[in-house]
């Protein structure tokens, strides 16, 4: 996925970029509205993350320009405000959703996914490994012609493993990525999700291997 992040706080922008990079997304960063307008015109983005208070104006004016230019790239607003009426006015201006700072990265990802899923008109990029086709936005898995709907955590686990094929993930790392830090889960919970994915992938060329004492790895034959 290719994101455009419009945020004037460099520290936060760096933090978001590096966190998104961990999930295998590409992020371009603009610190001003004028830069953001140029970026949005030049590049093809899947999604725009927009801060509301920027040095050269209000993020809302970017939204207006953005929508006036018939650009239908979805926009998620990052706002420090929490007043409902303010949020509603941003949705009226054409934002697709908003997250309140400070945000949970998993929530941001979930909202991005939901927004992208709602935009059904555009063809969603799918990942193909062997005879398995995976649509991370729609949450579908296509194994030998039959479509399986994945639960959110199954989906995120599979996305992680697929984006870094051949790489080994420890149980702890997977817990960190799939659960919020205050979810009361043990590392054994991962085994449940791995078990489910294995069931979904049964009979395909893709397998999730257990490396004793190390973790899990996604392999495919051929």
């Amino acid at each position: 996925m290719k994101y455009l992040l419009v945020e004037d706080n460099l520290e936060l922008a760096n933090a978001i970029c590096s966190r998104m990079g961990l999930d295998g997304h590409q992020v371009d960063h603009a610190a001003k509205i004028s830069d953001a307008v140029d970026f949005a015109r030049m590049g093809e983005y899947d999604l725009i993350l927009l801060d509301i208070m920027l040095p050269d104006g209000d993020g809302r004016s970017f939204l207006e320009q953005h929508r006036a230019g018939k650009n239908d790239t979805p926009v998620i607003v990052l706002t420090a405000r929490s007043q409902v009426s303010d949020r509603i006015s941003m949705l009226d201006l054409g934002a697709d959703d908003y997250v309140t700072k400070p945000f949970d990265h998993a929530e941001l990802q979930a909202r991005c996914r939901a927004v992208l899923r709602r935009r059904t008109g555009t063809a969603q990029p799918t990942t193909r490994v062997g005879d398995v086709e995976f649509d991370p936005v729609g949450g579908h898995l296509n194994v030998k012609g039959s479509t399986i709907n994945l639960r959110n955590r199954e989906l995120r686990l599979l996305e992680l493993l697929m984006n870094a094929r051949g790489q080994v993930f420890s149980k702890q790392k997977l817990v960190d990525r799939l659960f919020s830090y205050d979810d009361d889960v043990s590392e054994n919970a991962i085994e449940v999700y791995v078990g489910r994915l294995r069931k979904h992938l049964e009979g395909s060329s893709v397998q999730i291997r257990t490396l004793r004492g190390l973790g899990y790895r996604l392999d495919h034959d051929g």
């Binding site: 400070p102 959110n152 955590r153």
Partner: protein, 455 residues
């Protein structure tokens, strides 16, 4: 919010008092003047006849053989007959000797020749009008002075005056009544302008601070001008404080977001358990503070708006559908499903922002306590009353605590590690109360908590 205004008199009453008082005074004045004038004219009429009578008697006086002779015509007295049968008296003197007539009729001692003198006097137990004139007859030996007085009672005159008085009094009362009616009408229309201004200012929503632009009478222009200036200043200061709060929130929350994002990214990399625990505590502290700040703001807003509800017809079905869609990404993260159970539109007259806030807090709460891979049901019912249940499949409330949980900053004893400020249920309850509704907490027999807002 309405402080007691000290009432000092009433403009309407004061105006009406002045106007009716003035009308009464004018009516009395009218009565007095008209009656006085009528009396004067009537008196002049009587005086003229009396004078003619006196003249005709005096003209008949001749000096014959050294003696004064009067042979006055009958008409001299009959001309004085009136419908009221007024009595007529006369007295003729030669110098100071009564020649003929009624003795004791009071006459002025000296009236210059050719002049008439009119006096009012008492005679025979009645008020009479007396006209007197005299004439000097030149005799051979000496001049003789003949004085003639004719008097008439005033019954006819009094009757005429009474009739006029009655008419004038009736006219005066009518004038007063008309003036009073006009005064009240005038006062009402004048005060009506003020009332209309008041109504149109009162009818505005609490957010409407736009200037008053309808045409007003010129006398009210300064008042409306000051009102508009006040509203402009109020809007300006509200805007400033709103901007300040937004700016302050931005300044505080952006660095918090930075810290949180770094902490999250770092947590993915570090292996050592104590470092991981430290990072977790850090993120928890950040979440706690931002959540508390958010709910405090929400609570402040609910408290403020609850006193100034912006009511409109709201379809709870549509409102909750939107809210569920908005919250489902967060629910999905935990593999919790949000299920809306509704039989169609459920219209209530209420404040959309408040209602949305209340339900968001309830669903937020349910999401926090719902176990993974369960369903949260939001059920809208329209009979017998409109109600919304938010039902989870979690542990439910601790029975002993249920009646205390809606209090401010009260958190259940079984909240464990969940982050919360203890304001969510307070907000929901305040919103329910602001809409004349109630909030009911219950545990489901099949397990799980249920919060009901009943409108």
């Amino acid at each position: 919010m309405t402080d007691e205004v000290v009432v000092f008199g009433s403009l309407r009453n004061r105006l009406a008092m002045i106007l009716t008082g003035g009308a009464a005074l004018l009516a009395i004045l009218l009565f007095v003047v008209v009656r006085g004038y009528a009396a004067q004219i009537a008196q002049e009429g009587q005086d003229n006849i009396l004078s003619a009578s006196v003249s005709s008697i005096l003209d008949s006086a001749v000096l014959r053989d050294g003696a004064v002779q009067l042979d006055f015509p009958y008409a001299s007295l009959s001309m004085l007959s009136t419908p009221a049968d007024d009595r007529v008296f006369y007295a003729i003197y030669e110098d100071s000797t009564l020649l003929s007539g009624y003795d004791g009729l009071e006459t002025p001692p000296l009236v210059p020749n050719g002049e008439r003198m009119f006096t009012s006097a008492q005679y025979d137990n009645a008020t009479v009008r007396v006209a007197t004139a005299s004439r000097t007859l030149i005799g051979a030996d000496r001049p003789r002075r003949v004085s003639v007085s004719v008097a008439q009672t005033q019954d006819a005159l009094a009757e005429t005056l009474n009739r006029i008085s009655r008419n004038v009094a009736g006219f005066g009362v009518g004038f007063f009544a008309l003036a009073t009616a006009l005064a009240f009408w005038g006062t009402s229309t004048t005060i009506g302008q003020l009332s209309r201004l008041t109504t149109s200012v009162t009818r505005r929503g609490p957010q409407d601070l736009s200037p008053f632009l309808k045409p007003v009478p010129s006398e009210m222009v300064p008042l409306v001008g000051s009102l508009n200036t006040l509203m402009a200043r109020l809007e300006q200061s509200l805007k400033q404080s709103e901007e300040f709060i937004a700016e302050a929130a931005h300044r505080v929350r952006t660095p918090l977001a930075t810290v949180r994002s770094y902490a999250e990214a770092t947590l993915q990399r570090v292996q050592k358990q104590e470092n991981r625990d430290a990072l977790r505590s850090m993120m928890r502290a950040i979440d706690e503070s931002s959540r508390a700040a958010g709910q405090l703001l929400d609570h402040a807003m609910v408290t403020f708006r609850a006193e100034n509800l912006e009511r409109e017809d709201i379809d709870l079905d549509g409102l909750l559908r939107e809210l569920v869609q908005r919250m489902s990404p967060v629910a999905e993260m935990r593999d919790v499903a949000l299920h809306l159970e509704s039989a169609g539109p459920a219209i209530i007259h209420g404040d959309a922002v408040l209602l949305q806030n209340a339900f968001r807090n309830l669903i937020d709460n349910a999401l926090k306590y719902a176990p993974i891979e369960t369903t949260i049901t939001i059920r809208i019912q329209t009979t017998p009353r409109i109600s919304v249940d938010v039902i989870d499949q979690g542990r439910g409330f601790v029975p002993d605590e249920m009646d205390k949980l809606a209090g401010r900053f009260v958190r259940g004893g079984d909240t464990g590690d969940h982050i919360g400020s203890g304001l969510g249920l307070t907000i929901a309850q305040d919103v329910a109360h602001a809409h004349d509704g109630t909030m009911i907490l219950s545990n489901r027999s099949e397990g799980g908590a249920c919060v009901t807002l009943l409108f």
